[in-house]
Structures are given as C-alpha cells and as structure tokens.
Amino acid sequence: MEKPSAGLWRKIKSRYNLVGSTCSKCGSNYFPPRIVCRKCGRESKMEDRKFNGNGEVVSFTTIRVPPDTFKDEAPYIVGVVRLEEGPMVEGHIIENSRPIDIGTKVRTTFRKMYVDGEEGLIYYHYKFEPV
C-alpha cells in the first residue's frame, strides 16, 4: 500500500477539475499547469485556470496489455484531447454507446482511476466521454 505524498494532495485540483494555468500576458493556456509561459518566459504572468472540460479527440489507442495498475480494466482507450481552450490533454476515454474517432466531441467526467489494493486509497481523476 502506498502512502500519498503532499505532492499528490496538491495535484487533486488538477486531477478532479482540470485546473491548469493561463498566462495573463499572452493568453496561452496550459494543462498540466506551468509555472512559466513557454512564449513569455521571464515576462509571464501565470494564473490558475479551470477549463470547461469540453474538447475533441485528436488521437487515441486501445490498450490491451495494460500495466498492473489497470490489469482488470483492459481493453481500454487512452487518447489526446484538444480542449476548447486550446491545451492538449492526455486521458482515458470511456466507451459508451457512441463511436470514438478522431474529431469525436468529448466532455469531462469524474471517475475512479485506480484503487490501491484492499486497504489503500481510491484515486479519482477526470476521464473523457463521447457526447
């Protein structure tokens, strides 16, 4: 069983709510959050930004040979989603009855990512779902 680190606690906002960052100088959006803007460098003015969670699939693949953490979940789909606000975000894509393809519109949903054995923590995370 793993003990969660303080670093993990700090990431909860990002993992639950897609909180990234935005540079108020040039308007660039980032996820995961960045401390320094890629364009503005030392001039950057970074702030937290919660993205609305809507986007479209840019790329995806089906995982059939998963790491141990997800051994009971396979096959499952992971992909890259371009959020409406711009950032490209990696994540699991849930298979509902709607087909998944490049360009498929998705929304963010709240799911369990993994469960640490019988006695450890339950890790919650955003996932994407076709709409």
Binding site: K50, D72, E95, N96, S97, T109, K112
Partner: protein, 349 residues
C-alpha cells in the same frame, strides 16, 4: 421559506436485463417482470462508485442552479455504499465542485432515505440563516447477493438537490416536511459484510408500506391536503410494484406517479431512487404544480415533503440536463458474466 434552487442527476449507462439474470438462476423472467414491474437496471462502470455518481450529480445541480459553488455552505451525502468506511464522500464532492473550504460537510446513512434526510438538514440550516445554500445528495451503487431477489433491482444512480431561500431563485418551495421513524429490522448490512440481508418477502408490510403510509398520512393531517391537491406524487421505489400499490392505497392515480416512477427501467438506485424520481417530475412540472414526495429507508423511516413549483422553473429549465436524456440515450447492455466481473464478484481473481 427554503426551497429547491437546482438539481442534478447521474445514472450509469450500463444496463442488464431481467432476462439475463433470470436465465442464470433458472427463474421465469416474465413472472419477475410482471411481479416486480422491472425490466432492466443500471449497473455502474468499473470506475464508478457512490462518490463519482455524487460528483456528476452535484456538478449538474450547481450548473442548473446557476449559483457560485463557493456559496454552498453545507454538503451532505447520503448513501449505503460510501466508498470508504472512514473518509467522507462529501470531501470528494466539495473538492470536485470547487466549493469553499468553509463548508459544513458529512456523510449520512439511512438505507434508501439518507438523501432526503440530508434535504431536511439543509432546509433547517437555510431557514435559520446559517447558510445561503445547502446541498444534499443521495447516491448509491447498491449490491444484491448473486441469486437473491434483490439482484433484479439493486442498481446505481444518484441525485443532488441544492436548497436555498432567495425568492427569485427557488424553483419549488418546500411547504412542509415530516418524518415517521421506528426500529424495524426489515433490511440491514453489518460493517464489513459485502451484501445486505433482508427479512424475506414479507418485509413490505411492516417496512415500506407502514412507514410510507404513516408519513404521508401525517402530512395530510398537518397540511390539510389530500391526494387530489397534488399534481404529482413520488414514492420510494424498491421495485416497480410497491410505489404503484402504495399510491393507490393512499388515493393517488397512476397518472400522478408516472413521471417519477423510474425503477422499472433503471432499477432501485437506493438513496438516489425517490430523489431521481423527484428530479424527473420537476423536469416536466409547471408553475403552480404541487408535488408530494415520500421516501423510505429500511431500518426504518420515511420522510415526506410537500413542494409547490414556482415561476422560476421555466427560466432555469434550459440549464437542466433532463433525467429522460440521462437514462434514455447512450445505454450499453452487458451480459451476466460481464456484470459479475464489473462488480468484482468473481472469486479467485
């Protein structure tokens, strides 16, 4: 006066049909479908639990209410399937809706009525002026022992209601709430036990029917209202049959309970059941409509509410994700073997 300012629902998209369960146990599917008035039930995904369902419902409720989540002063989550024995589901909800750190929060348990008990609690906090808005959620991923009659109905889903008292925000005033509670051993689950135990097929009379009837009749006495004074009524629905029978006994018509009767197509969502029924009823209600809700939780107790829909309901409707859209589209049917795997019921794995 406290009232509903917003609501949200979530029901997982997986379904299993009565036929698929009955086939495995050699039972007569048609007899079960007729006897329990149930056709299929929702099943949570492997990555869903009472917390994820509560979060989805809570986010929709905040959106529907059109309020700042930082103004929610209390969050209570009622469930009999909280993911942790110690670590409140409510903490996951407040973080995921971005509520303020200065929020009152706790988990509640009262079988299938913990969510409506939470509504009563936040009504008190709102009416006393201690908080501006309070949220109560009923959410469950209930378990039925394989082969038990409960397996046909025990499903997953949840609903969140935000209570406030600003006149221009309230979509339904809650005119009155009363309860009826007794120590009745009709259904229970001990700490650490995977499945609940029930007293058998005769639990309906001393449990469900006695408590729903007593609470509803008390409501009639205290308000002077009778069945004819309501446009709609919603009762707890452990199967599709009990609510139809109790409604008739109390003098309500099938038409009054129809919009809120969802167990036949999604199963019994436990803490979510009567609250999802209320949400579906509010989805179609018009200003001036009067609604009766009586929940039931084994153990046992019933909470009864009388609500009156206001003019604000129409303006907020465009922000509501309708229950019919949530449960009607996007379904994925699974077979019994997948159901066992997804519920982690397979031994030796």
């Amino acid at each position: 006066m406290a009232g509903i300012v917003g609501y949200g629902v979530h029901v997982p998209f997986y379904r299993i049909k009565v036929e698929d369960i009955a086939k495995v146990w050699g039972e007569d599917a048609e007899a079960i479908k007729t006897g329990l008035n149930i056709h299929e039930k929702s099943v949570p995904g492997r990555d869903e639990d009472a917390a994820t369902i509560a979060v989805e419902a809570a986010r929709r409720a905040v959106h529907h209410a059109g309020i700042k989540s930082s103004e929610v002063g209390a969050v209570y989550v009622g469930s009999e399937s909280h993911p942790y024995a110690v670590k409140p589901t409510a903490t996951v909800v407040i973080e995921s809706i971005d509520a303020s750190d200065h929020v009152m929060a706790a988990d509640l348990e009262f079988a299938c009525k913990a969510g409506t008990a939470g509504v009563q609690m936040v009504m008190g906090l709102v009416d006393s002026g201690m908080i501006k808005y309070g949220m109560s959620i009923g959410s469950d991923t209930s378990q039925g022992r394989p082969g038990d009659a409960l397996e046909y109905t025990a499903s997953a889903g949840g609903a969140a209601f935000i209570i406030g008292r600003e006149k221009k925000e309230v979509i339904a005033n809650i005119l009155k709430t009363v309860s009826y509670t007794s120590d009745t051993p009709d259904f229970w689950r001990r700490e650490g036990a995977m499945f609940p135990t029930h007293s058998g097929r005769f639990t309906g009379e001393p449990g469900y029917f006695k408590h729903i009837t007593a609470a509803t009749k008390l409501m009639f006495e205290t308000t002077g209202f009778g069945p004819a004074d309501f446009t709609y009524a919603v009762f707890h629905q452990p199967n599709g049959k009990f609510p139809v029978v109790v409604a008739k006994q109390l003098g309500f018509s099938d038409k009054q309970i129809k919009p809120g009767l969802l167990t036949p197509i999604i199963g019994n969502t436990y803490s979510g059941a009567s609250m999802i029924g209320l949400a579906a009823t509010l989805d179609i209600a018009r200003p001036g409509d009067r609604i009766l809700l009586t929940s039931f939780g084994s153990g046992a107790g019933s909470d009864s509410f009388v609500m009156e829909v206001t003019d604000n309901i129409e303006a907020k409707r465009k922000r509501a994700v309708k229950v019919s859209d949530i449960i009607g589209s996007n379904k994925v049917y699974i077979d019994y073997a997948t159901y066992l795997k997804d519920k982690d019921f397979i031994k030796g794995r």
